[in-house]
């Protein structure tokens, strides 16, 4: 971070400050770094420590990892998360980009602003609270959309949350609560595309579809990759949605559904922090690997 204003000043202060030119920037970043260390890096290190030690604190090799993988719930939980990630990432990319483009093309200014606000609104609710909203939405007896559910032949809450419906249900909840922020981000990125470029495309005879497909989406690529990387990490840590669903249905759906729930069970039901940490560390590795893959394949850090 450069601070040209400081260099411009006269007197001894220049000499004193020159050895640390980015001071203001560091001051701004410092609180974040402190929080990152406290709530990000230290707990991660702690989890890694737990994952490789046994209950007496001795080095345990990979035994915690093999114990986790050998649990009868591990395979199904991993499969659940994989299917959910597929649903969630595809819906995110398709609908977020689509809606952002739509928003960008809305000519009426007031309408665009209203839509932007509406998209963002669910994200403004606190996470667990917005999931709670869905528990009502999914119960045909009390849901305002109950007629829709009944139209699909779903008359009771139990039928709505049948095991086969869960990837869709969880994706719908996650999209509703989390996509609004991304739509606003994509919309901002679209606004960054120079109007001359779009003008040129129009003069060359490109319609809205061609402009979107050949100009706007290629220019959004890095933003989309950025979204996918973060959404992958968040999605792999699926927890609140199935956990609340499980409590609302008294355990009929969503119990031991995701890997993070399994980790939670290991930690607090079986008092086995080592195995719980092993699951967390596995998730971290998978997310990091996916991120590296996306970064390399997309040329994320290449200069334009």
């Amino acid at each position: 971070v450069s601070t040209p204003s400081i260099r411009g000043r006269a007197g001894t202060s220049i000499a004193r400050r020159a050895w640390w030119p980015g001071r203001a920037g560091h001051v701004f970043v410092a609180p974040y770094v402190v929080l990152l260390i406290a709530f990000g890096i230290v707990p991660t290190g702690y989890a890694i420590d737990f994952a490789f030690t046994d209950t007496t604190g001795r080095f345990a090799g990979l035994s915690n990892f093999t114990a986790a993988a050998a649990d009868f719930r591990f395979g199904s939980a991993a499969a659940h998360v994989a299917v959910y990630l597929l649903f969630w990432l595809v819906s995110l990319v398709v609908f977020v980009v689509g809606l952002a483009l739509l928003l960008h093309n809305v000519a009426v200014r007031g309408l665009g602003r209203t839509l932007r606000f509406l998209y963002y609104l669910p994200g403004a609710l606190a996470g667990a609270a917005s999931v709670m909203v869905w528990l009502f939405m999914l119960d045909p007896t009390v849901s305002p959309a109950g007629f829709l559910l009944r139209a699909f032949g779903l008359d009771t809450f139990g039928q709505v949350i049948a095991p086969g419906h869960l990837p869709l249900v969880l994706t719908a909840i996650a999209f509703w609560t989390g996509a609004g922020g991304w739509i606003v981000v994509m919309y901002g990125a679209l606004n960054n595309i120079s109007p001359e470029l779009l003008e040129a495309a129009r003069i060359d005879g490109a319609g809205p579809w061609q402009t979107a497909w050949r100009v706007q989406i290629p220019l959004l690529r890095k933003w989309i990759v950025y979204m996918v990387i973060l959404a992958f990490a968040v999605g792999a840590q699926l927890f609140v949605e199935p956990q609340l669903l499980s409590q609302a249905s008294n355990g009929v759906a969503g119990r031991d559904y995701s890997l993070n729930q399994l980790s939670y069970d290991f930690a607090f039901q079986n008092n086995d922090l080592g195995t719980a940490a092993a699951v967390s560390v596995t998730l971290l590795l998978v997310s990091l690997l996916a991120a590296v893959l996306f970064v390399v394949k997309s040329g994320f850090f290449d200069a334009d």
Binding site: I37, A38, F39, V42, P43, Y46, A47, T55, T56, G57, D71, F72, R73, G127, A128, S130, V131, D139, P140, T141, V142, D155, T156, F157, G158, Q159, A162, P163, A174, T177, G178, V234, G235, Q237, L238, F239, V240, E241, Q247, S249, N250, G251, V252, A253, R255, D256, N260, S263, Y264, A267, F268, Q269, N270, N271, L273, A276, A277, S280
Partner: protein, 456 residues
């Protein structure tokens, strides 16, 4: 939104200082910080009453209760104005939430914060709490034998581990047959004494009065109402960490087949009695409902607001030819005393009062008291309220002694296993009989995960 849950804490005193510093940074501290003792060290602790006692301080007593038992703690405060008591309300561990176990495992790491007395709506807490060193033995000097003798026979068996009593049962949850007396009379039906008669009546209701119900199989406690009462050996806890599971014996299949028949002809509901769906569409269609003793107050009077003079109680039906009648059981809360308490005298006093005093158990408590003398007063009170259409005393008292002892109280939740394994299947039209092997497999898996040695 997703949250990554991490558990931190000092595992060994050897790494104590650096661990503690790390912990101060981690979010878990915020969770664990409530309810710590700050009293000064008074008399020295020691090994009395069968466990190593903490130094006693006579400080403030911390009591955790669920919303229903809040009335009990408040009443104690009112009737004991000099007692220093801090009442904390929590979810009571309902529906296997494991809140208490989660918190105690965190307190065990921070070495402070334990509540002195806890109410739990679950009756299997000793399965982990004894191992975690959380519960104090009660029959080794803390509570006199003469008091303990007052509990209904077998009431404290979920609290007993190797002959030592680690908790006190709050209420019994023996199952009975609830029914709508005016309706039964109007339609000229006889109260079924056997399961065979019950099934025949269910089939009759299905044809003669379509839409009316003879029971519900949509709850997590369905196995405890029906399978337990049928002496199905799905949950035979044979030792501290040993269980025998057999879900395909004749005792299990006969009840599963009965449920399948009645589910198919729709006289047996598949909705939970506590669901919005049931309350809205089915609550006024109940002809009979096998359920527990607390259905009367909690469900009919509280949730359904069934008018006075309709609901009556009969003994649970039995299989014809079975010489020993058996009933099931759904919950019945327990009170635990912390072995870490620095206020053992006050804690014991509260515990004794809350489980035995007529002021609470006899007159206020919503469930059938586990302490027999209080149960007598409670039954008399229920009778004098004239809410029920018949005298509920006889059937409830008899059922209290008939809870089949072959179904144990393990660490894994049978309710949760049934909910996740059987309920989605019945919702999609599968028969319970066909899912019995899957039920067996799920119980075995969960038992093993919890460290149980499983015999099949």
């Amino acid at each position: 939104m997703t949250v990554k849950v991490r558990a931190d804490g000092a595992r060994r005193s050897g790494k104590g200082r650096s661990r503690a510093a790390l912990m101060a940074l981690s979010g878990v501290v915020a969770l664990a910080a409530c309810g710590g003792h700050t009293g000064t060290t008074g008399s020295q602790g020691g090994s009395q009453g069968g466990f190593q006692q903490a130094p006693q301080t006579n400080g403030t007593l911390t009591v955790w209760v669920d919303s229903t038992r809040l009335a009990a703690a408040k009443l104690y405060q009112k009737t004991h104005p000099t007692a220093k008591i801090n009442i904390v309300s929590y979810d009571g561990d309902a529906n296997g939430s494991n809140y208490l176990q989660t918190k105690v495992s965190l307190f065990n790491r921070t070495r402070k914060g334990w509540p002195d007395v806890v109410f739990s709506s679950q009756n299997n807490e000793t399965s982990w709490a004894v191992q975690a060193g959380f519960t104090a033995p009660l029959n080794k000097g803390l509570i006199p034998q003469s008091t303990l003798a007052g509990w209904a026979p077998g009431a404290n068996s979920p609290c007993t581990v190797n002959g030592t009593l680690y908790c006190l049962r709050n209420d019994l949850a023996q199952t009975v047959l609830w029914y709508n007396a005016p309706l039964m009379k109007k339609w000229g039906y006889k109260i079924p004494a056997t399961w065979e008669e019950y099934q025949a009546l269910g089939q009759k209701v299905a044809t003669e009065h379509r839409g009316y119900l003879v029971g519900s199989a949509g709850d997590t406690f369905t196995p405890e109402i029906f399978m337990w009462a049928s002496k199905c050996g799905a949950n035979q806890i044979t030792g501290a960490k040993a269980v025998t599971v057999n879900t395909t014996s004749a005792n299990c299949t006969r009840m599963a087949a009965l449920l399948d028949t009645l589910i198919k002809n729709r006289s047996m509901s598949l909705s939970s009695v506590f669901s919005t769906d049931f309350d809205k569409n089915q609550a006024d269609k109940i002809l009979m409902l096998p359920g527990t003793s607390w259905f009367g107050g909690a469900l009919f009077e509280g949730t359904f607001k069934t008018p006075k003079g309709q609901i009556a109680v009969a003994p649970m039906p039995q299989w014809s030819g079975d010489p020993t009648p058996a009933v099931g059981n759904v919950g019945g809360g327990t009170w635990l005393l912390s072995a870490h308490s620095t206020n053992l005298k006050a804690a014991t006093d509260f515990l004794t009062w809350v489980t035995t005093a007529n002021d609470y158990q006899g007159k206020v408590a919503p469930g059938y008291p586990a302490y027999a003398p209080a149960a007598k007063v409670w039954l008399a009170n229920q009778t004098s309220s004239h809410y029920y259409a018949n005298d509920i005393t006889g059937p409830l008292q008899t059922a209290a002694g008939q809870v089949w002892s072959g179904w144990g109280y393990g660490q894994f939740s049978q309710e949760a296993i049934w909910a996740a394994t059987i309920t989605p299947g019945t919702t999609s039209g599968k028969s319970i009989v066909s899912m019995l092997p899957a039920w067996q497999k799920a119980i075995v898996n969960y038992a093993r995960t919890n460290g149980y040695k499983v015999s099949q």
